[in-house]
Amino acid sequence: MTGNERETISTGKAPWKSPVAVSVLLHLLIAIVALAGWSWSEPMQEPEPNSISARLVSPEPEPSPVINEQEQARDREQQKAEAERQQAEAERKQQEEQAREEAERRAQEEARKREEERKRQEAQARERAEQKAREEAARKKAEAEAKERERQRLLEEERRRQEEAKRKAEEERRKAEEEKRRQEEAERQRREEEARKEAERKRLEAERRLREEQLQALADEARQEQEAEQRRQREAAAARAREAQMLSESQKYQSLIRERLTQAWYPPSSATEDMTARLQIALLPTGELASVKLVNSSGNTAFDNSALGAVRALNRYPVPENRDTFERYFRQFTIEFNPQRLR
């Protein structure tokens, strides 16, 4: 995995690094050859190190150095021709003085030297032509590369343009959408605002109504309370009256029951005045006995039985017709048998 990543990284670097390196190397080579060529004839002349070094660090080789070198070469040629002319002048003057002495020898020497010079210049020319060809090739290559770069740049530009266009379109679309959304949002907000306002209005309306209703309710309540109070008072008075009536009615029936039971009770001869039997009686509204229960024994079976017998002896108890009075007093009650006047 890690190895793969590393591989990917190194291959990625190669495309932009190698042409630069090649170009730099090529220029270096050209420069060295040129310098070497010149150093043959003009060893004193040295190329300006500044320009060379500047060109060396430049990331992209430019054709201008080649042009400059040609100009320099021409300059140098002119300078050299000047020097050679001056030298020739000096030599002619000398030779003119000495020529008469060594006219032959010098003529020969001159011939030979001229031959050598011609050879050297031919070699030089050839070298220059080769150099030129190489330079031409380099230039062409550089041009091609420049063209390629230009194309690449154009492609890139096109791509960027297209991307830009696309981006712009996208942006446009997005903006349109944004706008649309914004408008929708605005619309929505407007509607919401309207709804909110409507709701608020309704709420206020409802509150107002509620308040009114509450006020009305309070008023009603107060009125009802007053009415209820009056009714309560009336009812209480009526209840008291009814109560009193019920009580008096119940008392009437109590004494009737007492009378009937007194006539029905045969206290046994073993009864004493301290004997008390308590019976719980349940009656039906008709006055019939529903149930009887001895809740408190006198301790004397005969006495208890006499009480039970008395209670059961009555076929029908005298009870009030008024159902309320009946329910209140006679549905269930207690009878206590306790002889007070034994003979």
Partner: protein, 446 residues
């Protein structure tokens, strides 16, 4: 600070918790109060003054029955005599059931009856078997049921036994229908007098003469076990106290002192007798030990002291004394202790007979020119009349204290009458021949 807050919260919490609780309890209280208010209480402090209606249905019979009164008839008679029951005449009965399955309570209710006795008699050789049931008609409940046998000759005893059971079941007190009476009948006139000491059933039936004499026989008194009678006999021309063993007829001359020997009365334990003796000059009350014959003088007064009787508790003694000028009833807390006067209502109150419950003392009481039986409430001192017939004498109480028998004069002759001790119903015993005097009601013999 925090604690305070916490406490406050707790209190708030408590309040919240308490409030419903309080409401609930308040509601309960009000409910209870409401119930209490609704729970009417009617007090019945008086009952019917009259006798209890009871239907004694003639018993079904199988086999040859002995001659004489029917069992049911004897029972009705007993219950009637008690003064507390009013038996229904058989002619008014709508049906004559002999067991529960035949009983229609509604019918008996309609007849106004409170109790119903049904039963049957079966002859089994020389014995009679009685099976009977007593019902409370209003409660439609059986309150008594028994099967019992007796010799054919004791059919009356069987009837009295059933009467006792009925009486006890309904009144809560033991019946006294199986007890005996002792009394003296007098026949003849002038020098030709016959005195007979007799013992009978309480209804006067089955009377048997125990002693017959030309001289007066007085004051028979039952021993607590019902086996002996003490009495005064003049058979030796002077009053002498005898003790008579009923089963054997054996007689013992108990007190034969100079002067008066009279008014014998048994102690509750039957070991001694109170008697009136004038051996020391004046009539005084003495106690004699039966076993030794030792005498203890209980009274010492110049006036006449007589008719000693043990009170219900057997500790104190009632007696008659004329120390106030006329005969009155006195009571000694202990034999020999200071006497307290009981009666004040008239000039003459004599022959005390204490009630068995200690609430009353009965005696012969003179009102205007009549002699009646009266009683004094020992708690209140209140005096009330028990009889009103006049010429009434010799009261004697039934063992349960409910009835009192006494001798009175009717149509110029002396008869025995039974009356409710409270002065209610009276029941005259069937007239015996001649005069009947000095009745003495025997104890309940278990």
């Amino acid at each position: 600070m925090r604690l305070v807050i916490l406490m406050t919260q707790t209190q708030v919490h408590k309040q919240f918790v308490l409030r419903p609780l309080m409401l609930v309890s308040l509601a309960l209280f009000m409910l209870a109060a409401g119930n209490a208010r609704a729970e009417l209480l009617i007090r019945i402090t008086e009952g019917v003054d009259s006798a209890i209606p009871i239907a004694v249905v003639p018993f079904a019979e199988s086999g040859t029955m002995p001659q004489g009164d029917k069992i049911s008839s004897i029972i009705r008679s007993d219950l009637t005599m008690s003064g507390e029951f009013n038996p229904l005449a058989p002619g008014k009965m709508l049906s004559l059931p002999s067991s529960r399955s035949d009983v229609y309570f509604r019918d008996w209710r309609m007849l106004g009856q409170r109790y119903l006795l049904v039963g049957e008699l079966t002859r089994k050789g020389e014995r009679l078997e009685a099976r009977y049931e007593l019902f409370d008609i209003n409660r439609e409940a059986r309150i008594l049921g028994e099967t019992t046998t007796a010799p054919v000759s004791s059919a009356r005893s069987l009837a009295h036994h059933i009467s006792d059971k009925i009486y006890e079941a309904i009144t809560g007190e033991p019946g006294a229908f199986s007890t005996k009476l002792a009394y003296v009948t007098v026949m003849g006139q002038g020098d030709n007098m016959r005195y007979r000491l007799q013992v009978s059933d309480v209804d006067g039936k089955r009377a048997k003469v125990r002693l017959e004499s030309d001289e007066p026989i007085l004051s028979p008194a039952w021993s607590p076990d019902g086996k002996k009678l003490a009495y005064v006999s003049f058979e030796t021309s002077k009053p002498v106290i005898f003790v008579h063993e009923l089963a054997t007829g054996e007689r013992q001359k108990l007190a034969d002192f100079r002067g008066l020997n009279s008014a014998p009365a048994w102690s509750p334990d039957g070991k001694s007798l109170l008697m009136t003796l004038s051996r020391d000059g004046n009539a005084e009350v003495y106690k004699m030990e039966l076993a030794s014959g030792d005498l203890t003088r209980l009274t010492d007064h110049w006036a006449i002291d007589t008719s000693g009787a043990w009170d219900h508790a057997g500790r104190g003694v009632f007696f008659t004394s004329d120390r106030s000028g006329g005969p009155q009833i006195y009571h000694m807390e202990r034999p020999g202790s200071e006497a307290r006067r009981i009666t004040f209502g008239s000039r003459y109150n004599a022959r005390p007979r204490p009630g068995p419950k200690g609430d009353y003392v009965y005696y012969v009481h003179q009102r205007n020119n009549d002699f009646v039986i009266a009683r004094t409430n020992l708690n209140t001192g209140e005096e009330s009349l028990v009889t009103r017939t006049g010429s009434d004498e010799s009261p004697s109480l039934s063992p349960n204290g409910r009835l009192l028998i006494y001798a009175t004069e009717r149509d110029g002759t002396s008869v025995l009458t039974v009356v409710s001790a409270d002065g209610g119903e009276t029941y005259s015993l069937p007239a015996a021949e001649g005069e009947v005097r000095d009745p003495a009601w025997g104890p309940i013999v278990r």
